[in-house]
């Protein structure tokens, strides 16, 4: 029966420990389950390891110990994580890290092209994604000349263009004006995907999250 239970969760973490290169423990014995339909906020003090946790889930950082089960499978090697990265989308804190292509269209196309989609399909995806973002006609805009708010929306676009089954959002509305913030929340609600959001903005989390995780003393304290 346990096997069936495992399949129900998107991410299951048991006894996860992570230590930085300088020997400082960030996460100690983290246990946490993230299931479908969950729209969660992740709270925690600065430097408490929230971003680290996201990067461990995506396989960008290697934990010291603990088991990581994502979509019902143990994930260890980088090949295991290739599948995870296809199915979970991570929005980075700094959009400049995420947008490296010269034009908006190229950037949104980057993921789908890597997934082996053909050019016509990708063109459609780019157009659809921009439409969802309310940025029709932005195809040939230069990414680094966009405003902060537009950059964040396009960065979200590059993530949703890969049609992920779940999202990890790292401080998604920090620095956004009211208009872009509203837009962002709207898009998020429209997507109807499970997600975890890191934010210090309680008002924002109350609006978009139905559950909350607290990262405190290097552990996850669950709260509903």
């Amino acid at each position: 029966m346990a096997g069936v239970g495992h399949k129900d969760f998107i991410v299951e973490i048991e006894g996860l420990c992570f230590t930085y290169g300088n020997g400082i423990d960030v996460l100690e014995n983290v246990n946490f389950k993230f299931g479908p339909g969950m729209q969660a906020g992740l709270y925690g003090a600065n430097g408490s390891g929230k971003t680290t946790l996201f990067h461990i889930i995506m396989g960008l950082l290697k934990p010291k110990s603990g088991t990581l089960r994502i979509f019902g499978q143990d994930r260890k090697s980088s090949a295991d994580f290739a599948d995870v990265r296809r199915r979970i989308g991570l929005l980075f804190q700094d959009s400049d890290d995420q947008l490296f292509s010269p034009t908006v269209a190229e950037d949104i196309a980057f993921g789908p092209l890597n997934l082996g989609k053909n050019r016509e399909e990708v063109q459609d995806i780019v157009r659809e994604t921009l439409h969802i973002l309310g940025l029709d006609g932005f195809e040939h805009r230069i990414t680094f000349r966009l405003s902060g708010g537009e950059k964040r929306l396009v960065a979200l676009g590059t993530v949703i263009a890969m049609d992920p089954e779940a999202l990890l959002l790292d401080e998604p509305v920090i620095g956004l004006d009211d208009e872009h913030r509203e837009k962002f929340i709207c898009i998020l609600k429209e997507m109807k995907r499970p997600y975890i959001i890191i934010s210090h903005d309680r008002e924002f989390l109350q609006e978009v999250a139905t559950t909350a995780f607290f990262l405190r003393d290097k552990e996850i304290v669950w709260q509903s």
């Binding site: 990067h55 995506m58 960008l60 290739a82 990265r85 296809r86 989308g89 991570l90 980075f92 700094d94 400049d96 890290d97 995420q98 490296f100 292509s101 010269p102 034009t103 269209a105 190229e106 196309a109 980057f110 993921g111 092209l113 890597n114 997934l115 050019r119 990708v122 063109q123 780019v126 230069i142 990414t143 680094f144 590059t158 993530v159 890969m162």
Partner: protein, 254 residues
């Protein structure tokens, strides 16, 4: 930082296939640089000027971009007439101005301005990215192209970071001087930029991995060669052949 102020426009030259532009600019630049005859140099300058008119760029902006070149040209005009042996035009003591020297300086001036005009009207009317993209069609090493493209993308971010750090220094009363404090501060600034760039490169790589990067860039848009591209390339080739003939095939312009 890098402003592509000439790349925005809707002239005929702006809409040309960048591959055509590169394959025209390169031979033109070589031929002009190698030519020796002054009339040929004048002719090339005229061709370049016609291209410039076709590009519909603001002439004052183009002249502004000549400023850097001007410094070198002025140096040439000072040193070449005095240092090249030849028929003296003017002599006072050890200073001899030679005719050959003046002709050489004139020739270099005409040729360099012609090359800059051609580059501005053909290459600067495309975005840097589309040029890098076009170069990938010429089978240049992939690593070199990625390097060019990513440095182009992040040089701006790096510059903004530099400006921010510098402002942070300035609002705390920093003034550059000739002292250890200044050198140390600049050392910190450069060190900080290096570390930040390294960390950023790691984050970018992570972001790329998250989107399924497997060591290969796929291009979304493909260039299509249109009839007007071919027509333009043919005309330019014929003109170039004429220039080559005038320079090396005949003695009429000597």
């Amino acid at each position: 930082m890098i402003n592509e102020r000439f790349s925005e426009g809707n002239s005929f030259l702006h809409s040309l296939d960048p591959r055509v532009k590169i394959s025209i600019v390169f031979p033109y630049a070589c031929v002009i640089a190698l030519s020796q005859k002054i009339p040929v140099a004048v002719l090339c300058l005229c061709i370049a000027f016609v291209l410039l008119l076709y590009a519909k760029l603001k002439i004052s902006n183009v002249l502004k971009s000549l400023k850097v070149l001007l410094v070198f040209i002025i140096l040439l005009w000072i040193f070449l007439p005095l240092s090249m042996p030849g028929m003296p035009l003017y002599a006072r003591g050890a200073l001899v101005v030679s005719r050959e020297g003046i002709m050489k300086a004139l020739s270099i001036t005409l040729k360099s301005v012609a090359i800059v005009f051609i580059i501005v009207s053909l290459l600067a009317t495309s975005t840097v990215f589309s040029l890098v993209h076009a170069m990938s069609h010429f089978h240049l090493p992939k690593k070199l192209l990625y390097l060019a493209f990513l440095s182009y993308r992040y040089i701006h971010v790096l510059y903004v970071e530099y400006a921010r750090l510098k402002d942070a220094m300035r609002i705390r009363g920093f003034k550059a001087g000739t002292n250890i404090h200044t050198y140390k501060t600049y050392g910190y600034l450069i060190g900080m930029l290096l570390i930040r760039s390294f960390e950023r490169s790691e984050r970018i790589y992570h972001a790329m991995l998250c989107r399924g990067f497997q060591g290969r860039f796929y291009l979304l848009d493909h260039f299509t060669l249109r009839r007007s591209d071919i027509r333009f390339a043919s005309i330019m080739t014929v003109i170039l052949a004429g220039v080559i003939w005038l320079e090396w095939g005949t003695r009429i312009l000597l």
